[in-house]
Structure formats: C-alpha cells, structure tokens
C-alpha cells in the first residue's frame, strides 16, 4: 500500500528542507551560553508548571504541541525564493501560559533535532531560546500588555496575539543574527540586516496562522481558553 502511495510522489521534489540551525552555525561558547539560558528557562517552566498547571489542560498541551510540530513543517512562500514557517511560541503561550508553552516548544524542537535531524544538538539551546523562549516568555509579556491596552483579553486576544507573534519572529531572528555574529560565523551587522529583513515578512505568516488558530478555538471551543488559568480546586463532587 505504501508503495502505491509512494508512486504518487514520484517526480515531486523531496520533502521539506531542513529548517533549524545545524551544529556548526554557532561557536561552542555561544552555544553553551544559549544552552545555559534555555536550561534556566526550562527549569523555571517545569517548576511553575508543576505548581500551577491544571490537569484538565493536559490534552490541550498535547494537541498544541502536535499542531505546532505539523505547522512548522508547512513552509510558505515569502519573497525572493525564500520560505518561512510558523514558530508557534506565542500561540503556545496564549493557549497554555508561558511555562507550559515553553515546555511545549522545547519538546517540539527536541523531537525535531533528535528524531528528524532538523536542528543541531549543540545549538539546540539556541534554537529553543530563539524560537521558543523568545515567543513564550517575551511574546507572552507583549501579548498581556497589549490585551491590557485593548480592554482585556476577551476583546484583545486575536489582535494582541497577532502583533506579539509578528514581534516574536523578528525578535527571534534578531537573536539568531546576534548569536551568529558573536560566533564569528558572519558579520553581525550584515546578519542583522538580512535576518530581520526577511523575518519582517515571515512574521506576517506567523501572525496570520496564530490569529487563525486562536479564532478557530474562539469559535469552536472558547472554553479551552480558560484552561490556561484554571486552578485545581478541591473536587466539587
């Protein structure tokens, strides 16, 4: 059966390109610093998740991770022979909060590196930081601030998430450019201009996918939004 399906793909280009930074893009000191920062973020996230995360949100955590993994595979055309793909940090944090969101992003990037050979192991700390922590913690802080300005999360959720998602991509790309520059891989000013320049456009895709996913949840199952801040109460029954 697989062989017959395989025939369907004959003539098409091979599978998705490798997306994430491989080992060798960053120097060992920079990779080590990024691993240290990421480990701190993961330890804090494990602790906070353990203290506050409601067990009723576990299926949402799994589905969010699965969706982000799948959506990251979906490279969309940007400009000049360049593609982009979802990162998902802001989406994860809006649905699950910054702590569980960080763990989701770390898990997705770890599976991509360990199982699919997408993204290096030495630089995995940097990849988790740039694509995960920047969005789940930084992006979420921006999201909450914007929701405050827009008159509460109920009203501001979708636009605030869109702006935060766009910013998270530009900020993550900027972080990557700085890491590349500090590693001596390429000139930092050139890298900054190039990475920010293209991710300004890729971020629009991030914003659209993030807003569409949240709008879908809002229309179909708005109660899922409450799981993020649900607190385990003594059993009612």
């Amino acid at each position: 059966m697989l062989a017959s399906i395989g025939g369907f793909g004959v003539g098409l280009a091979p599978g998705p390109v490798q997306m994430h930074a491989p080992d060798g893009f960053l120097s060992l000191p920079i990779a080590a610093i990024m691993w240290a920062l990421t480990l701190v973020a993961i330890v804090v996230s494990v602790k906070k998740t353990n203290e506050t995360f409601d067990e009723r949100a576990i299926p949402l955590m799994g589905v969010t991770a699965a969706f982000i993994f799948a959506a990251q595979m979906f490279n969309f055309q940007v400009i000049g022979g360049t593609s982009g793909h979802l990162l998902g940090g802001v989406l994860a944090a809006v649905l699950l909060g910054p702590w569980a969101g960080t763990l989701v992003m770390a898990a997705v990037i770890a599976v991509q590196g360990l199982v699919f050979q997408d993204g290096g192991l030495v630089v995995m700390g940097a990849n988790i930081f740039n694509m995960g922590v920047v969005g789940t913690m930084g992006g979420y802080a921006v999201y909450r601030a914007l929701c405050g300005v827009l008159g509460g999360e109920q009203r501001g959720r979708i636009p605030a998430a869109g702006v935060a998602a766009w910013l998270s991509v530009v900020a993550g790309a900027t972080a990557m450019a700085i890491e590349l520059g500090l590693s001596g891989t390429t000139d930092v000013a050139v890298a900054l201009a190039a990475m920010a320049g293209i991710h300004v456009f890729i971020g629009i895709g991030e914003a659209l996918v993030t807003m569409a996913a949240l709008a879908f949840v809002q229309v179909s199952r708005p109660d899922l939004f409450h799981l993020r801040d649900a607190r385990m109460l003594p059993a009612a029954a």
Binding site: A66, F116, D223
Partner: protein, 120 residues
C-alpha cells in the same frame, strides 16, 4: 498510562462550567489531533521547497556549509528511510505528530496538578 495515576481514564478536558457536554465534546482533542495530522499531510504535499529565512541568509552569506550533521535522527529530513517522495514525508509527519503529542501528554501528566493533590 502512568503507575502513579489512580484513575485509568484520560483527563476530562474543558472547564466543567462552560464546556459543551457529550462524547464528541469530551473527546475534542481527538479532533485537534486529526487537524494536526491533516496539517502535516498538507505540509508534506504542498509546502514550499525553498530555503527558510535562516537558510536563505546562510546561503546568501556563504556560511551554509558550516553546518554539520550529528546524524542521530532515525527519520532524517522528515522522511522514512526506504520510502520515496511525498509519501515518505507524509508518513514521517504523521509519526512526528504522534510522537510529539504522546511525549508532551506524558510530560503534562508528570507535571500537572492533580485534583487529589489540592483536595487533600
């Protein structure tokens, strides 16, 4: 699923006050998982083959070749070894969706607060 879990049934999703009732509503996450699988299949079929932002910059600035391969992945480049073309990426993508879901679900089971903890 876990020896520390007293209840063999999966966690009921949704908040009790506003969540819709019924079996379909209760197992909404199966629908969510199916959507994720569908996105992986669409990605394997229709995704752009052009390099992404980082890789395009790496090619332009001539450091793409600095990348090295640790060679640990059993499904390298979102493919199933021995299977060609789009089908290979479809199967790899669906397998990946399942791995990520199970891993994160188990992580959640391990970390999240249980009702018993706070009720006690």
């Amino acid at each position: 699923m876990s020896e520390t879990t007293p209840s063999p049934t999966p966690t009921p999703p949704g908040t009790p006050d506003r969540a819709p009732k019924g079996r379909l509503a209760r197992y909404w996450w199966v629908v969510g998982l199916a959507i994720a699988g569908g996105v992986a299949i669409l990605a394997a079929t229709f995704a752009s083959r052009d390099p992404d932002g980082l890789n395009a910059v790496a090619i332009d600035q001539g450091f793409k070749g600095a990348g090295t391969d640790p060679g640990v992945g059993v499904l390298p480049g979102y493919t199933i070894p021995g299977l060609d073309g789009t089908a290979s990426t479809i199967v790899a993508g669906v397998v990946g969706v399942a791995i990520v879901f199970l891993l994160v679900f188990l992580l959640g089971r391990l970390l999240a607060r249980r009702r018993k903890d706070t009720a006690a």
